[in-house]
């Protein structure tokens, strides 16, 4: 979606022509994104990760929890590409299943953060009386360093996947809300919104059809970064023992298991670490590409 007052102002119905124009624009956007090298690169890697996560049951050579005391701490070899851990569990299989857990947590956090952030950001900017209340509350949350807040919340709630999701959502929502609020404020002051008010459009219609549709670009870019940061943050939580509890394999858990054996069995910590690095890199590349194409203003601001 590109901020373009005329096309979204469909109170003056342009019917089929409008729809065709919209499709054309989507095609153009997709074409430009796929032509963007780093976006494409990120997309391919993310697609591979997603494929691995979805088809873990078929791809993993072993069950992720299958321990075997006869093959404890085996270095990478033919039977176990990435070696085994202190339980004799296959690291490759654990990483494959761990990817599923990490991506699932990242994705859910993106969705919940997106919804909550949009809701709070829009309310704050659209309803005048709520602005101070909501934003000061969010400022309070933002006063804590992000990961520290997540650790504190996860520790207080107890180690589980759902609690990790809650902790990460609470941590990342304020930043998202702030971005939404800022762009809604910009759009809200534009002439076509005034025009919509003038022709008698309701608040719901104005918010969803006109304001949000035009304020989404920075949000989408932000959410790709939330996705990336969530994966890292989940790994941090698991590493500290406040993420999904063992024996569930998450990338952070596997690294935590390998912590005591870094000198004797480097492969336990290194391979999931590499997996996290690649996943986060791919999301960041995609985020950068999206920002370049759909939200060029932000790039100019950042570069300035």
């Amino acid at each position: 979606m590109v901020a373009d007052p005329i096309t979204t102002d469909d109170t003056i119905s342009l019917g089929a022509e409008m729809a065709a124009a919209r499709r054309r624009r989507w095609r153009q956007l997709a074409g430009r994104l796929l032509g963007h090298r780093s976006f494409l690169f990120g997309l391919v890697i993310l697609a591979i990760f997603t494929f691995v996560a979805v088809f873990a049951d078929f791809l993993a050579p072993y069950a992720p929890d299958k321990s075997d005391y006869r093959s404890i701490l085996m270095p990478p070899a033919a039977g176990h590409w990435f070696g085994t851990d202190a339980f004799g569990r296959d690291i490759a299989s654990r990483i494959i299943y761990g990817t599923r857990v990490s991506l699932r947590i990242g994705l859910i956090v993106v969705v919940t953060t997106g919804i909550l952030g949009t809701l709070l950001g829009t309310l704050a900017s659209y309803v005048r009386g709520l602005d101070g209340l909501i934003m000061r509350g969010l400022d309070g949350l933002m006063a804590f360093p992000g990961v520290l807040l997540a650790i504190a919340l996860a520790a207080a709630l107890g180690p589980s996947e759902i609690n990790a999701i809650i902790a990460l959502t609470v941590t990342f929502t304020p930043r998202t809300a702030r971005i939404v609020r800022a762009s809604v404020l910009v759009v809200k002051g534009m002439q076509f919104i005034e025009a919509a008010h003038a022709v008698g459009a309701g608040h719901t219609r104005i918010i969803f059809r006109y304001i949000l549709a035009n304020a989404l670009s920075p949000l989408i870019v932000q959410l790709t970064f939330v996705f990336a940061v969530s994966i890292v943050a989940e790994a941090i939580l698991s590493f500290l023992g406040v993420g999904p509890p063992p024996p569930a394999p998450s990338l952070g858990n596997i690294i935590a298991d390998g912590r005591s054996y870094v000198q004797e069995a480097w492969w336990i910590a290194v391979f999931p670490g590499v997996a996290i690095a690649i996943a986060v890199l791919s999301l960041n590349l995609m985020g950068d590409g999206l920002r370049d194409i759909i939200d060029p203003r932000q790039r100019n601001q950042r570069d300035a």
């Binding site: 321990s67 404890i72 202190a86 023992g241 509890p245 063992p246 054996y261 069995a265």
Partner: protein
Amino acid sequence: MGVHHRLRMMGRALTVAGALALSVACFASQSLAQTKGGDVTVVQGSNPPSIDAMSTSSQASRNITMNIYETLYGFSEDIKPIPILAEDCIISEDGLTYRFPLRKGVKFHNEKEMTAKDVKASLERYRKVGATGNLLDPVESIDITGDYEVTFKMKKATPTFLEAFSSPRAPAVIIPEEDGQTEAGKNSFIGTGPYKFVEYVPDSYVKLARFDDYTANTSASGVDGFGGNKIPYFDTVTFRIITEPGAQVAALEAGEVDVLEQITVPSARRLEGNADIQTYENIPWAFNTFIFNMNVPPSDNVKFREAVQVALNMEEVMGISTEGLFQLDHGWQYAGTTYDAGDIGKDFYNVADADRAKALLAEAGYKGEEFSILTDGNIPGHAKTAIVIAEQLNAIGIKAVVNQVDWPTALKIRLQPEGWNGWTLQMGIEPYLGPVGVIATLTGEKPHFIKNDPQLDALYEELISGVTVEERQATFAKIQTRLYEFFGIIKLGNTGLMQATRSKVKGFKPFRFPRMYNVWFEG
């Protein structure tokens, strides 16, 4: 002991011919090397809950406090009660009075001489704040019967009293009379031991310094268990708290620290070829056990518990949880010790029979209720034990989940009557203390199972009132039989403890705590 031990170490390296002559020569040069001085750093993984030795039964405390304090009686190397601050113990024929003449001239760290008044005050305090204060329950009164003598009057004859009194679990240490009225943890940390307390910075270190006026028990030939002729050599001993095993090993390799109270087995194996580092194997060190909460379903059902017992593959549990340093042992006393009950219960051990387990589950009417296994991430081996057990139980259709918390939280939860079904526990000091030590934790007011087994409680009473060793052995055989009838606790095996020092640390011998006396730096 020191001389014997060194000779033994040398002997291992030497050929038979000429060994004697060479050992004598080496002994001469080594004794020259036993010079005072140096600052030694010992590493352990967790904070001592207290430096007040009598008020805690924590190993992290014992490691430190047994270098600071001493008891009247303690265990020898071969686990027999021997006098330490006492000179002797004279028990009357009827078993109703215990007379303890004290060693004369023993000085506290505040330079005051220890007398019968200090002993009485210490033991009266032990009754109140001692973590195992009930071991003085059989004692009617503690009387001062001379400047250097106390006498216990007993309520009734208790044949196992002296052994219990010698227990290092929460040691009945002797402190100055002035500390007699202090609350738990609030004494001035003054004892009679070879090192005196200097400073405790939580999460960082506990520092001790040599007590130059230490009154050694020169009647003994060398160190013997908790007693013997102790000689402090180091200027200071620092117990540094480093939680991360990897960081501990790195510090040892870098030469920043000198002794690791515990090192993971893979790390120890890796360091075996390193000339700067000496590793030690301390096995058997502890029982690895799995305890049921007999108060809540499904673990309240004896058939269910039996199913778990026969389902488990102990070799796998032990192999993984100990990283390979273990003994398969079904017994509730170490093999070869006085109360070893032989093959009783062996039929149920390391069976790993899924079909039999499933049949028992059906008999128990198990319907897929959740079986929550409580464990902690702090004590090495606990979490791994829980995870392997959960995996094995899931394989026979039990819905086992692992609840991993930190150690203090686990200790709180397991006291609650509900909210857990199984709990992983390594019993370190209890089996060392003998049958009473183990069974005491399974009976009485707060048994590990939450709900008492009346038969076991009765057998415990029979055990502690057995007059002769033979009687008590017979009772213990009945106890082991009973343990394999109601399956309230599962013996998984014996664990070992790997320790390591820098090679310049000489005279170190693995024991129930790192004895930092009669240990010195070479050169």
